[in-house]
């Protein structure tokens, strides 16, 4: 229908669907380097956190070590889960346009399995009281002069065994969903059966519901319970909003890099970038909408037990980060990705995607790290100095590289697009206008 020659669906074994060798060769360096950086980063983080007393007004953040690890973990996990949601939604609405980029999302989605292993250190932290989650401190209620009956009610939810059981359930749900869609999609590469598509679509609805609930509760458990006396029912959506935005950015960036390396050159066109760009633009605002709504409700209600969370994030370095989130996580990318001329330039869009991925880290850092501070209302959270920043960055770069290496390893054994998907042709010829 367009002006160039009618496209054809290439055979499944075409090199356009293979992971380019230049990328495949990166997997080992990425994995080993990532692991090394992660270990060094966590080590540094524990060094930064060492010597900090639990509740004295010192600037040393006593829970810095595990918090830096959790920040890196949550950063990667939100992108992985965002990708899982992307896949679910494409099946749920029978999207045709996205088929050529769906496999990239599926690569990231299946990383939820290694993420379950990477969660083990966080379980490990429960054995060291107050090393990450303050509700593990036995006399937490006494220290903060909390009402005992209320605290006991909280304890019935926030306790080690139940926490681990819930984590198992969350990962069980996610891994089951990821495996189901992974097998359906890669299986179709061989068989080409249409029934696989129907089956995946059939289960997409229930999966979306399960996903929403499990993600919400996981966000409550792993993010919100860092400040056990604070609560926000929007917190799950907030984590989701950042994750889905980052996932779209990661898909865009990964697809662009794949094309640069030589794969999918004819399959992914400017039209797909245009659509991904629209989603990025939309979710930039969605994230803003959700985070501002959360802020507005708490700010307006002005109840100390709620405002305390934002109060600690308006002091010291985190006050600047709060402003940075407004201007750099919302305004700049909002204006930057507004024009269709930007969205229709893959290189430019990939730059914005990379930028937003960095800002997503700032967002997660801003959520988690202030809670590593010593107990007490007057304690101002810090970034832990140059060493602390270095440790935090090393952790996230390390874990990101590790997972990226794993992705490349998985991608090397599979095709980089669903080559026999019944809607592949529709996706290739897709046009916006």
């Amino acid at each position: 229908m367009s002006e160039h020659a009618a496209p054809v669906v290439k055979p499944a074994d075409d090199p356009a669907f293979q992971l380019p060798a230049s990328l495949a060769s990166l997997q080992l360096p990425l994995m080993s380097g990532g692991l090394f950086a992660l270990v060094v980063g966590v080590g540094l983080a524990f060094l930064v956190g060492s010597g900090g007393a639990l509740d004295q007004g010192s600037n040393v953040m006593p829970r810095f070590g595990f918090s830096a690890y959790l920040t890196a973990f949550m950063y990667v996990l939100t992108i992985v889960l965002g990708s899982l949601f992307f896949v679910l939604i494409q099946h749920l609405v029978r999207a045709g346009w996205s088929v050529v980029v769906r496999r990239v999302a599926e690569f990231m989605m299946i990383m939820v399995i290694p993420m379950a292993i990477l969660f083990i250190p966080i379980v490990f932290s429960l054995f060291f009281e107050g090393s990450l989650y303050v509700w593990t401190i036995p006399d937490f209620a006494e220290r903060l002069h909390l009402d005992e009956s209320m605290w006991n009610t909280k304890k019935s939810f926030l306790n080690g065994p139940f926490f681990v059981i819930r984590a198992v359930i969350y990962f069980g749900i996610w891994i089951a969903m990821a495996l189901f869609y992974w097998r359906g999609s890669t299986g179709q590469d061989e068989t080409g059966e249409r029934a696989a598509t129907d089956r995946m679509q059939y289960w997409a609805g229930p999966c979306v519901m399960l996903f929403s609930l499990s993600l919400t509760f996981a966000a409550f458990d792993w993010g919100m319970s860092l400040a056990p006396m604070w609560f926000s029912t929007m917190f799950g959506v907030y984590i989701f909003a950042g994750g889905i935005l980052a996932a779209h950015c990661a898909i865009t960036l990964a697809t662009y890099l794949l094309q640069r390396a030589g794969a999918l050159r004819q399959e992914v066109t400017v039209e797909h970038y245009h659509d991904l760009g629209k989603y990025i633009f939309g979710f930039v605002f969605f994230w803003t909408y959700i985070s501002f709504s959360q802020y507005l409700l708490i700010w307006y209600g002005n109840i100390p037990e709620e405002t305390e969370w934002f109060f600690s994030r308006q002091r010291g370095i985190f006050g600047y980060l709060s402003l940075a989130l407004i201007f750099l996580h919302w305004m700049l990318p909002f204006v930057g990705t507004m024009s269709r001329h930007v969205r229709r330039r893959p290189g430019l869009l990939a730059c914005w995607a990379a930028y937003i991925l960095v800002m997503h880290f700032v967002d997660i850092y801003w959520i988690i790290m202030p809670e590593a501070r010593a107990l007490g209302h007057e304690v101002v959270p810090t970034a832990g100095g140059v060493l602390g920043v270095l440790a935090s960055v090393l952790c996230v770069v390390g874990m990101g590289s590790l997972v990226l290496g794993l992705i490349l390893r998985v991608a090397g054994g599979n095709r980089v697009a669903p080559v026999r998907d019944p809607r592949l042709m529709e996706s290739i010829v897709f046009e916006n206008i």
């Binding site: 229908m1 367009s2 002006e3 700010w299 307006y300 046009e431």
Partner: protein, 600 residues
């Protein structure tokens, strides 16, 4: 697709593109002239249409349009249609929405009608965001929607394309390409050839629709009637709102007729004490009164008082700033009492003791002023013989002794009016001499020497108004103490009546009776006179003080104080009055002489 204007369709160049065609098939009358708008071609497939579009575009035609049963990707490019400006219109709409919302809220809540909501600042950006967001969306949508209308020339009720019955299939299974006659390159034959080359199976001229355009007369009639009738309910409503009726009101607009709000003094089950009116919360200051200093509320220089008499200053703070009713009652009793003889003041049963003389007044006395009562009355009638030893003689008494016959100073004196009949006033003076030992509270209090408000015409006008409402009934409009109430009491001859003081006596002038003291007297009362603090606003009381000063000054004014522009007028009046007085004096003298003559 391309905007295409029906209204201007008849204005194109006649030489170039006007055609007269005789359509034998559809029109039986040969004289019909038909305006040709352009030429259309029919295609059977999307590909043939796109192909034809590209050829037409490449041939240089710009005023073209395509009609398809469904959206066709790439047709804009094939036709060479330029990108639309619609996004810019939507952006402009969105930005103006943001600006309007923010400036509206800042103006309303921060400037025009300042109102604290939920303890937030007047201009509070987070609170303004939801409205700004919604208005941005709304105006951006309006921009996109109505901008699309404007760019497409909508609403368009008819299109010449409709004159061809074959065009109906454009919504079904046929694709049409149209070239407008207004196009610069338009040439009927050339266009026909070009379209034939593209493989179109059907090419036809698009002609003006010749069906009658007049709106049928009855339609206007119906419209007119509908408009007329639609006004009736409106008129009914308006009539109801401006006329009176003995029947219950028909509530078209409810306004606040049925609001559950309570009126003053009503009972409610909402609060534990069943009072609908809520007292001030102890320890709080009502909005707008925070700026009033304690000095201004009491008329006392509290700083100075704190050095002289710390407990009393403390009591003032409790009474006026912390809402301590007990402290206030004590304070008011103290400043409003008139020098009660020490022995009587000491005794709680003073009322009884003094009641033998003034029983009637004791009955009416309330607790707060009970102590002053005896004092008030006594000075009037029993001063003469009385002891009044320690009696803290207020400043008013001294003038009494200086000019006893003429100006019995304050109310405690039986007042001049009585002086005519009763020879008592002069007797008050001797006491004054004997009681300098213990100064009264009224004397020792460091009163404010000056009115804390800026005195200007507005303040004096307000003071005049309040004086007229509250003070003049007793003190008279001129302040000479001969208001209506006084005249009535005198006429009836009530023996318990204490005439109000004239304000024109030196003891009440600013140098002897400071502004703060006058204010305190207005607020808390003095002797018989009740306090007006509960009835007159704080600032209005100070306004009255300023007006009283003006009244006093008016009695001692010299010509220099009058603005030059008005001196002449006043001098004229003065001469007139003098002449009149002289005339009257002469008459009186004459009459007297006559009477003498007669009697002698």
């Amino acid at each position: 697709m391309l905007g295409w204007d029906v209204a201007s369709a008849g204005h194109f160049n006649e030489n170039h593109s006007r055609f007269i065609s005789m359509d034998q098939k559809t029109m039986s009358e040969t004289k019909t002239e038909r305006i040709v708008h352009g030429i259309m071609a029919e295609f059977t497939s999307v590909d043939s249409l796109l192909d034809a579009c590209r050829r037409v575009r490449d041939a240089g035609y710009t005023k073209t349009d395509a009609y398809t049963p469904f959206p066709v990707h790439g047709i804009d490019r094939a036709l060479g249609i330029k990108p639309t400006v619609l996004p810019w219109i939507a952006l402009a709409g969105g930005l103006s929405g943001t600006l309007i919302a923010l400036s509206m809220q800042i103006w309303m809540n921060g400037i025009d009608y300042k109102y604290i909501i939920s303890g937030k600042p007047f201009i509070s950006l987070p609170a303004f965001m939801p409205v700004a967001f919604e208005l941005t969306i709304l105006l951006a949508s309006f921009g996109a929607f109505f901008g699309m209308w404007a760019l497409n020339g909508l609403p368009k009720f008819s299109n010449p394309m409709f004159t061809d019955p074959r065009f109906d299939r454009a919504t079904d299974d046929r694709f049409f390409l149209y070239i407008d006659a207004k196009d610069e390159r338009y040439d009927a034959d050339g266009v026909r050839n070009l379209l034939t080359e593209t493989g179109s199976g059907y090419i036809n001229e698009v002609v003006e629709d010749d069906s009658p355009k007049e709106v049928p007369k009855p339609v206007f009639l119906v419209w007119g009637l509908m408009v007329a009738f639609s006004i009736v309910p409106l008129l009914c409503i308006l009539t109801m709102r401006v006329t009176n009726s003995s029947r219950p009101r028909f509530h078209v607009f409810f306004d606040m007729d049925f609001s559950p709000a309570k009126d003053a003094q009503q009972v409610t089950s909402l609060f534990y004490d069943n009072r609908a009116m809520r007292p001030d919360v102890p320890g709080t200051v009502a909005r707008g009164q925070l700026s009033e200093s304690l000095d201004m509320m009491t008329g006392i220089n509290v700083e100075e008082l704190a050095q002289q008499n710390a407990p009393r200053a403390e009591r003032l703070v409790r009474a006026y700033l912390q809402g301590d009713e007990q402290a206030k009652a004590e304070e008011v009793a103290e400043v409003s009492e008139q020098d009660p003889p020490a022995d009587e003041a000491d005794a709680d049963a003073a009322e009884e003791g003094s009641s033998d003389e003034q029983p009637a007044q004791q009955d009416s006395a309330d607790d707060a002023s009970a102590e002053d009562k005896p004092a008030e009355d006594k000075p009037a009638e029993e001063k003469p013989a009385d002891d009044q030893p320690a009696a803290e003689k207020s400043a008013e008494d001294e003038p009494g002794k200086e000019e006893p016959a003429e100006n019995p100073p304050a109310e405690e004196k039986p007042a001049e009016d009585k002086a005519a009949e009763e020879p008592t006033p002069s007797e008050s003076s001797p006491q004054a001499t004997g009681n300098a030992s213990q100064p009264s509270v009224m004397e020792t209090t460091p009163w404010l020497k000056q009115n804390p408000l800026t005195i200007d015409a507005d303040l004096l006008a307000a003071g005049k108004k309040q004086f007229g409402i509250y003070c003049s009934v007793c003190h008279g409009m001129d302040g000479r103490g001969n208001g209506l109430v006084n005249r009535r009491a005198q006429a009836k001859g009530f023996d318990t009546w204490v005439p109000p003081a004239s304000l024109h006596q030196e003891t009440l002038y600013a140098d002897q009776y400071p502004d703060g003291k006058l204010f305190s007297t207005i607020s808390n009362g003095i002797r018989k006179m009740p306090g007006y603090a509960s009835q007159i606003q704080l600032r209005d009381r100070w306004a009255i003080v300023s007006y009283v000063r003006a009244l006093q000054m008016s009695q001692n004014a010299s010509m220099e104080m009058v603005p030059e522009s008005r001196r002449e007028e006043i001098e004229r009046e003065v001469t007139q009055v003098k002449a009149e007085l002289e005339r009257q004096a002469e008459e009186a003298a004459k009459a007297a002489a006559e009477r003498e003559k007669k009697s002698s």
